[in-house]
Amino acid sequence: MGQTTSKPNSNLFQNSNFFSSYKRGFASSPSDDQNMSLRPSIFSTLRKPPVSKPNDFIPLFNDCISAASSRTQEYLLFKDPEDKFYPSPEVLTQVFLMTYISQSVSLNMTDAFNCTAMTPGQRILLGADWVWAVLEKPTKNPRIQIAVQVLHLPDREDAEENSIPPEAFSESVQIAQKESSNKTMYERMVDFCTSIGKDCYALFLFLGRKSDKENIYGVLSNNFEAAIGKCDKIDRAFIENFFKGSRYLHTPQGMMQAIVTKKEGDPLTLMIKFS
């Protein structure tokens, strides 16, 4: 493929975090020996540090993404040998999100970095399937947000059109569609992020690409609206085009590191390989 995957500062970052959490793990050992069997093992304690520094969540985020991507990949290429059973591509989105959420809760990171799944109405109004947010302490207000829209392989999306899920008929969904009928889902999410500002990123998450159906990629930017200024239409082709312009792919951890270290107000556009 000729694509390289970067891991900026990964060792240094992981190691410093590892030792600090290791120390905390021992320092906070409870004295009572009751319920020993219910206590997590020392290894899980190491993996569940209280996220105290602003960017301590990044390696944990990486762990969550790793788990979610691996689980989703298990089903990415599923094909019924009898060609009768066609699970909705939406299932893949749900598998990814369920795995991510479960992991993030078990790693105790949601006070620093949370994930809000959108309601069916919000998915249409805002164009996002879920929104990640770096939270400010102690208010827990979002400081940085990443709105995520999942894109499936075109043939899967065609299959989805032929099997409209029941929720598509719900009143809420139809009202939401009416409210935002003149925009595509891509445009709605870009509009949503633009309305918030440069600290809100749009991430288009590709569960498989035509050229690599078994991996998960993303295009992230806080500057998609620049395309609108250039009269470019924001559609799938436009987003996929970003991969042609770059041979450099960030890791999820590298993506997050770039986001939190970026100068306020600056544009940032990245391509990421999540699996």
Binding site: T116, M118, Q122, L125, L126, P142, Q174, A176, K178
Partner: protein
């Protein structure tokens, strides 16, 4: 049985923008709005606004689903629920928009003010800052919505008496100054939740009646009887809704 379907441009009350000084309401007696259950006589678009964490989402959940959870989940951008109520045997579909209170979402939320017929402006009786922001929210309504939009001021979390920092009198006084109706409410204990919505719907109906009275070209009036959540047993004849 009411009929549904048909032209999407009909069946919803149309209000002219704030440039018009009069709320001009038109309606098709049998609601034929686009989307979902199309059996309604009127569609009212309502918004709940106010500072972050005053309890807007909980208030809506209590009203629409009769549910409450103390876990705080900050609303992202905007969301909505739909609830149908009955007044004088007419079905009124309430499209209730729940807005995020944080400043970062202000561009999105104010975009939904246009076309709203009623607002519930909420503060938290245990949070002075949220009460102090009421004036600003009121200005937002005046700036972005119709002239004739109706507003009810709601002092939420009145179950937390021990932590109260805004007195009932101060809440009432501010509401009078702003020309709003006033309730103290609790989504948690289900106090005055339904009443707040009912009053807002009444105010909208009254305003519609005024407009219709002053515009003889409009054939029918607004519903005037008490609201209920259940469908009327029989279709009454001669209803002047």
């Amino acid at each position: 049985m009411r009929s549904g379907g048909g032209d999407s441009s009909q069946g919803q009350i149309q209000i002219e923008p704030r440039s018009s000084k009069q709320m001009a309401a038109t309606q098709d007696v049998k609601g034929k709005g686009e989307g979902g259950d199309q059996n309604f006589d009127y569609m009212f678009k309502l918004l709940i606004i106010g500072n972050s964490s005053v309890g807007k989402t909980s208030f809506l959940f209590r009203y629409a689903d009769d549910a409450f959870t103390s876990a705080f989940v900050s609303t992202v951008g905007i969301d909505f629920k739909v609830k149908t109520v009955y007044k004088n045997d007419k079905r009124i579909k309430l499209q209730i928009w729940d807005t995020a209170g944080q400043e970062r979402y202000r561009t999105i939320t104010t975009a939904y003010y246009r076309g709203a017929m009623g607002f519930i402006l909420m503060y938290d009786i245990t949070n002075e800052e949220s009460f102090g922001a009421v004036q600003d929210w009121s200005t937002q309504i005046k700036t972005y919505s119709w002239d004739n939009a109706q507003v009810v001021l709601a002092g939420n979390k009145c179950d937390m008496e021990e932590e109260r920092v805004v007195s009932v009198d101060n809440g009432r006084l501010l509401a009078e100054q702003l020309g709003f109706e006033f309730f103290e409410t609790s989504a948690k204990d289900n106090i005055n939740v339904k009443q707040t919505f009912e009053r807002l719907v009444d105010l909208i109906c009254d305003k519609m009646s005024e407009s219709l009275d002053s515009d003889p070209a409009v054939p029918t009036g607004a519903p005037t009887a008490k609201l209920t959540d259940s469908a009327p047993p029989l279709q009454q004849s001669g209803c002047n809704c």
